[in-house]
Subunit: 366 residues, 3 copies
Amino acid sequence: MGVTFEEFRAGLEEREQRRKLLSSNGRPFFVLISQQFSRSEIESLCDTATAIRRLDRQLDGRDFLRNVLRGQRIMNLFAQPSTRTAESFVAAADKLGAISRIVSDLRTSSFSKGESVEDSVRTLSSFFDAIVTRHSDDEFAMRAAWALSQTGRPIPVISAGSGKSQHVTQSLLDIYTLRYSFSQRGGVDGKNVVIIGDIARNRAARSLAYLLTRFEKPRIFFVSPAAFAPDDELLSYLRRHEVENTTRSALGPLLREVGHDIDAIYVTRLQQEWDKGGGIPDSGERGSSEEFVMEPSYRKLVRPDCVLMHPLPRINELPESWEDHPGFVVWRQVRNGMWIRAALFAAVNGADAEIRHRALRLGLLE
Amino acid sequence: MGVTFEEFRAGLEEREQRRKLLSSNGRPFFVLISQQFSRSEIESLCDTATAIRRLDRQLDGRDFLRNVLRGQRIMNLFAQPSTRTAESFVAAADKLGAISRIVSDLRTSSFSKGESVEDSVRTLSSFFDAIVTRHSDDEFAMRAAWALSQTGRPIPVISAGSGKSQHVTQSLLDIYTLRYSFSQRGGVDGKNVVIIGDIARNRAARSLAYLLTRFEKPRIFFVSPAAFAPDDELLSYLRRHEVENTTRSALGPLLREVGHDIDAIYVTRLQQEWDKGGGIPDSGERGSSEEFVMEPSYRKLVRPDCVLMHPLPRINELPESWEDHPGFVVWRQVRNGMWIRAALFAAVNGADAEIRHRALRLGLLE
Amino acid sequence: MGVTFEEFRAGLEEREQRRKLLSSNGRPFFVLISQQFSRSEIESLCDTATAIRRLDRQLDGRDFLRNVLRGQRIMNLFAQPSTRTAESFVAAADKLGAISRIVSDLRTSSFSKGESVEDSVRTLSSFFDAIVTRHSDDEFAMRAAWALSQTGRPIPVISAGSGKSQHVTQSLLDIYTLRYSFSQRGGVDGKNVVIIGDIARNRAARSLAYLLTRFEKPRIFFVSPAAFAPDDELLSYLRRHEVENTTRSALGPLLREVGHDIDAIYVTRLQQEWDKGGGIPDSGERGSSEEFVMEPSYRKLVRPDCVLMHPLPRINELPESWEDHPGFVVWRQVRNGMWIRAALFAAVNGADAEIRHRALRLGLLE
């Protein structure tokens, strides 16, 4: 209380301070950046997601789930349009019986009448019990969380993607998918992961890299155009957490060199939609797109159990012919997004333990 | 599995093949064209609709209905805007306790990022248990059904109107309304039906004509501008199914000739919104609109029990003064659309029999 | 039945006639203007709102509430965009278990195909049990109510703001907030209320003034630019109901004169969005905006218990520094909007008495 936005933002840089600002009663309250999650919180979220996924297969389990957040109302404040992410959150809320509303066109609200963002968010928040928000401004979710923390009726805020910086729920679903894929191979610890794309601008890729630091001795191979290589902030974070990483400028040579050691390849598209602004190198400078495409001919360079992921939408960088590769889990990622978001809603409301215990009792979770 | 889209489309031409492609466990799975329904399936759907309509009048019945599809999630993917049709589907789903989402502005989804339609539909379908879709492309619903049939998680697809070709749920509600209106007069068999409008381009009119072939010896009188007379595909279908029909160029003379033999008149509006494209005859060539308008003066040319229908919206082709004609059932059509769509949701989920049996037990259905 | 729109509109001018046209079975059916509510109806609505607000705090109470309108379907037909008002109605409906739909973009419906407003409203109403409507046309809600009253399936219509004339639910929430704030000071009767803004064009301000006439001997001080002073219709209504009032052209002098006698100040913004049309005086003619702003320096001119209200959104007319003034209840107004709208839904459905009795039995209401 009585904290300025600048103090709030600065506080997020430091672990203990961050925990104080973003948590409440030992559970996440504001979900803004991947760095806020500890290893045990990640494991716990993944277990909750698995519990929900398995309970949802049974009629009884579904009824149980739909009572967990019954009557809760969640606002999806999506200033930056994204039907798929919004629908994933809505489906997740439905699974637990919460009611969702999507508020997407801020022009139809009073924003256009000269109202401050703080007033708008606070007014709308009055009708809800939690906010999910997506915005092209890197700091919108942070600002909404701060503004609500200053009121007498703060409610949880979950970022669904902020500008170019972070996409925390995407990284959680990606880690959940990796963990699932490696369940027979010792989990995520010690795995070699390739991340392809405009790392500096792709929030899914960056958030995943941040989250990998929570595991033991992963190795990351970034493959990106020189102009969009990992930024210093990310690299120094990886260094501080002793995560070995290198950056390459082309996929083919890397796979020819170490393809059989790779455990997972995370493909993202080159971010053409940001390129409409000025001052950004054109595709000529970025080199031939073939250097960042999973060519069908690479099939023999990777192991059959090499996990293949993509946050979607894809254009041509992960051709359809890969769909019958045994490690292709892109469609599982999409479903997992729903389960992990449901787990997050449960955690934020302190209802995750009861879900896991129910699943344990029914033998659905070890 | 392993069927190309071209094979899928070609398969729909042949009755047995069609049944295999569109049904699952003896019930409709993909609902794409009127021709896919047999007489007994139509009767069964109509009975289900009546059961739902009558159960909905009772508090107990409403509670029963709202449990039938509880927790089911339905996506209404409406690329072509249509508030009324979308709301009819949403209301229908609500009656059975299913949750609906409308995804209407595809520009806000990733379609605009260069993603394939197959990827978009498959991604969104991950969050749902059924899809209702409307699109200006004649083959969109077909393509969505095919794409999903190739995945490991196919879900039902119901077309809510495809381009100019078909509007299968509209024709089902129209047949349901005719059957209701003729319940004291031996049903739809052997009835004389006038269909007025741009038959070649009006999907409601065409779908109704296709569905009438499932009844015994109906006679159809088309009244349409020469440029938009019934197309060869429709006419040859009617011929193959031995449905007597003629096409007239004006309504007045027809009614003066055989008005008292007419059992139902289905009025549609001249389809001005298609006329913005080039190469289509202008209204001058289509003749005077009076030839396709139910003039108030025609009142004495038809029987009081002559059924008067319109798929709405209407402009001036069915003047308000007809509203107190005993056979005017346009507003009943609108409500029936909700009941028949609920019946379709039930059928697609294999839940229709339990609804009919409940209604039978309570004496609400004979 | 058989009443023309002109007769319907004229009937609303006279108390007895109005009651007949707008009520059904002794409860409000069409909610169009503040004048339609009697003192006892207002008190009853406020009690219901309080009952709902308190029941909602208990798990049991919430379950009880969510059964009150279970299965009811409410259409929010918002031709004039207003996310916050729409979301307030949706939240209110959710509290009682009703299902809401927002239909906001009338261009995507058939309005654009040349259909009459009456047909559009009637068609959409077929899928719903009540309509909430907001429109820039002063008479839209009235016309919708009239059109539905002429059909065989009339449903309740609640105006959520009509043009510049009235905003009846806003005035109900404002009165509810005043009543709450004055609960230890003898209620609204005899209070001195300042209303600041473009009175002639601000529907919230006007509706509040109309509703204040239902209380005993309130005194109203309007503060408005000369060009937007209270209109003759409002002034003569106040005179007929013997409500003492004066109109001032600046706030500062008024507060210096009688600030310590003021019980409540209702601030509204100068209505810039109407000024895009022609023929309206520019801001120069309206005088300096400082004359209509609650300057922080006025703090010493008002009592600490002076109630401070604003219908939001605000720009600069009620600076943030007022938020710690003890009488500042702007955020309570927002929440109260949800409670009073839920009370209204209950009243319109005849379910308000059961809510109040439940609350009485549990000791939540005196």
